[in-house]
């Protein structure tokens, strides 16, 4: 494996790993806060146990998220020193604010995890909310930094020099809002479905039904609302991409030729050599509408873009299809869920629906990773769009492939351990919280 490819793979791997933990760390505190709030209001022990059970999961994820994040802040330099030397002072603003947000998050987490029975109960609850809010803020800030790479702003690039730097303008670049909105919704959707699915599985197995049903309902509300909003936000993103990065949009849709009106492709196999897509279903004019809000608008294809600025088309296209496909499926699932709720208010005996929720456990995260592949691979060959090429940013040190293998091994073993730990946590629920076992037919509202 050559060093450049190894560096890119290592970056992608580390971010792909971190993002899962980060999203859980930023969403779970909200679930906990809801459950905690219900406990304080109703004095129902089940909610207290649920909050505690969740908080153990969060502690595990938070630690993994924190170490992988620490890793990333070094890795940006270890792998892309040339990029950081110029970009650091420009897009560093969100990172420095993010530092504050993390710090507050870490402190609040200390209070929350160790504060049971030691703090005023509402202050204790509040520290849990602070964990969530500051986690969300970190997520938004770091995505603003990434958005800057897609839509550079806040400096002038003259004769290879970066002058007139304005970090605030850089932070509020054109892409930050659409990306941050979409990202936050994705975090809630993905984590919501994952958590709801795990609890649905336990309900199907008839373990601690009351406990798991309460958990399921909290997670499902966040998941379904997120899923319903996601396509709207995705549409805003697509229009935005069409404006600022036509090459990325063309790659997402594998649009080799400029067309007016342009069709939307569903499925299909990309042939990068021949520059064509086979076996796809075409919806005439739909792409024109998605990209520009007009069924007859012209959409720029890759033929209008110099060959050496083409992103990898196949990867971007497949990843985009995967994300949108999963997104649509989750919308359907959410609608079904609301329909059932509206008809008879309980999904406890709708086993088929619970089974679909179990099936959906990994889907949100797959869509989330796919979305990032669209954004990042679709930006290639640029690391700073239109300004610096990724290959000019990579470290001069040879042998990065070894580092990539090593970190792959580390991340793989960490994932195995974390999954094993969660499995054990869930398995222990009946013993740890035995007070909450109720007969399976109890209807909980």
């Amino acid at each position: 494996m050559d060093d450049f490819l190894a560096a890119r793979s290592q970056m992608a791997l580390s971010l792909g790993f971190h993002i899962i933990y980060a999203c859980i760390g930023m969403v779970m505190p909200f679930f906990m806060a809801v459950s905690h709030f219900k406990w304080l209001k109703t004095n129902n022990e089940v909610y207290k146990n649920l909050t505690k059970a969740w908080s153990k999961g969060v502690a595990i994820f938070f630690a993994t998220g924190a170490v992988s994040g620490t890793m990333l802040s070094f890795e940006l330099g270890l792998l892309w020193p040339n990029f950081m030397e110029h970009a650091g002072p420009i897009f560093g603003m969100p990172f420095s604010l993010e530092g504050t947000a993390f710090f507050i998050e870490a402190i609040a987490l200390g209070f929350f995890l160790y504060g049971w029975d030691k703090l005023n109960k509402w202050f204790h609850w509040f520290t849990g909310v602070v964990v969530g809010v500051s986690g969300l803020a970190s997520g938004i800030l770091v995505v603003a930094a990434n958005a800057w790479m897609n839509s550079p702003a806040g400096f002038d690039y003259v004769d290879g020099k970066y002058i007139n730097i304005d970090p605030i303008a850089a932070m509020f670049n054109k892409a930050w809002f659409t990306q941050a909105l979409h990202m936050c919704l994705a975090a809630f959707t993905a984590t919501g479905f994952a958590v709801a699915g795990v609890h649905a599985l336990m309900i199907l197995r008839k373990q601690n039904q009351d406990f798991h049903y309460k958990a399921f309902k909290i997670a499902a509300v966040f998941a379904t609302i997120g899923a319903l909003l996601q396509p709207i936000s995705g549409d805003i993103s697509a229009k935005d991409v069409a404006q600022r990065q036509p090459a990325k949009l063309a790659a997402m849709e594998a649009l080799y030729k400029t067309e007016k009106p342009a069709p939307l492709l569903i499925g299909g196999i990309v042939n990068e050599k021949k520059k064509e897509v086979n076996y796809a279903i075409e919806i005439p004019g739909a792409l024109s509408f998605l990209a520009h809000g007009d069924f007859n608008a012209e959409v720029k294809g890759l033929d209008k873009i110099p060959e050496n600025e083409h992103p990898p088309v196949a990867i971007t296209h497949y990843a985009f299809q995967l994300m949108v496909g999963i997104g649509s499926f989750l919308v359907l699932l959410s609608l079904m869920y609301f329909f059932v709720l509206w008809r008879n208010k309980s999904v406890l005996n709708k086993r088929w629906l619970l089974k679909i929720f179990v099936f959906a456990i990994p889907l949100g995260y797959i869509a989330l990773e796919a979305g990032w592949v669209v954004t990042e691979v679709g930006r290639q060959p640029w690391i700073i769009y239109g300004i610096m090429r990724t290959k000019d940013a990579v470290t001069p040190m040879p042998g990065i492939a070894w580092s990539f293998y090593l970190f792959t091994a580390i991340y793989a073993s960490l994932s195995v351990i974390v999954i094993a730990l969660l499995y054990r946590q869930i398995k222990m629920v009946p013993t740890l919280y035995s007070g909450s076992i109720k007969s399976p037919t109890t209807k909980a509202n």
Binding site: F62, A63, M71, G88, T100, F103, T395, S403, L406, I410
Partner: protein, 334 residues
Amino acid sequence: MDIVIITFLCAAILLYFLLGGADFGAGIIELFTSSKNRSKTRKTMYHAIGPVWEANHMWLIIAIVILFVAFPKIYTTMSVYLHIPLAIMLIGIIARGTAFVFRHYDAVKDQMQEVYNKIFIYSSFITPLFLGIIAGSLISGKIDNRADNFADAYVFGWLNWFSVAVGLFTVALCGFLAAIYLIGESKEAEDKKRFIKKAEFMNVAAVLFGAMVFGSAYLEEVPLVDWVLKNPVGLASIVLASLSLILLWYLLIKGKTKILRLLAGFQVTMILVAISFAHFPNFIRLKNGDAISLYETIAPIKTVNTLGWALLLGSVLILPFLGYLFYKFQQKEE
């Protein structure tokens, strides 16, 4: 604003050394504790550092963010020429952080506990060792940015007697800080005695490795003696550190915990000042005699100003909250 940022950078490094260091030290002490006392030591330790543990490690992130936003040249030079030790240190951080949490939150306590323990203990040793090696390399003048082969450019910059001696010295200091900290946390007289013993042991180790740092500095032609003896501030701080050593042993024997902590913190601070003041603001010394200075490589003014304000604002939000955290969990429970 330059001053504000540099102050924050130094403060973050110092605090990471003191708080994160004590935290590493807890693992180092476990390493040097006989297996029959380990589980007890571990309990006291978890109790003491559990709540503040995430916060202690934030200082490293703050320092690194300040470096890459305001001193990108320093950040990238380190990243390129010290890639290998940085990567090892990162692996240590990953292993340690996860093992610590996993062993506590594993719902089933079985033989995995031993695995977590092993990982935790050894990474607690490796991580500060490499932190020290990195710090030593920055000032050793061995980093060769003109080298034309792999070994000179990426290995010998950090693999030399001086850097390794600084690494070992760092390990001993961390162990020392942790032992002093834990004396105050232990509730039983017997525990207390054990930690006093450990503190004495680590202190002796630190003095020995300190001597080794000077010896290797002489061998490797690092002008350490000049920095410490010919510079008034360097001299004053090393004298203060040595004098306080006497007081420290006295207090150790008496078992006065509160002042001991302050004194140990003071000592380590003085050592850091002694080593770094004389070549301030040079942050990295290169083999060809050049140096990369904080002032000369600072980012453009607007970046510096916004970063400065962000840091000031951040500390207004953070410090009271953090203080309350330490205060709340310091109170002895019955």
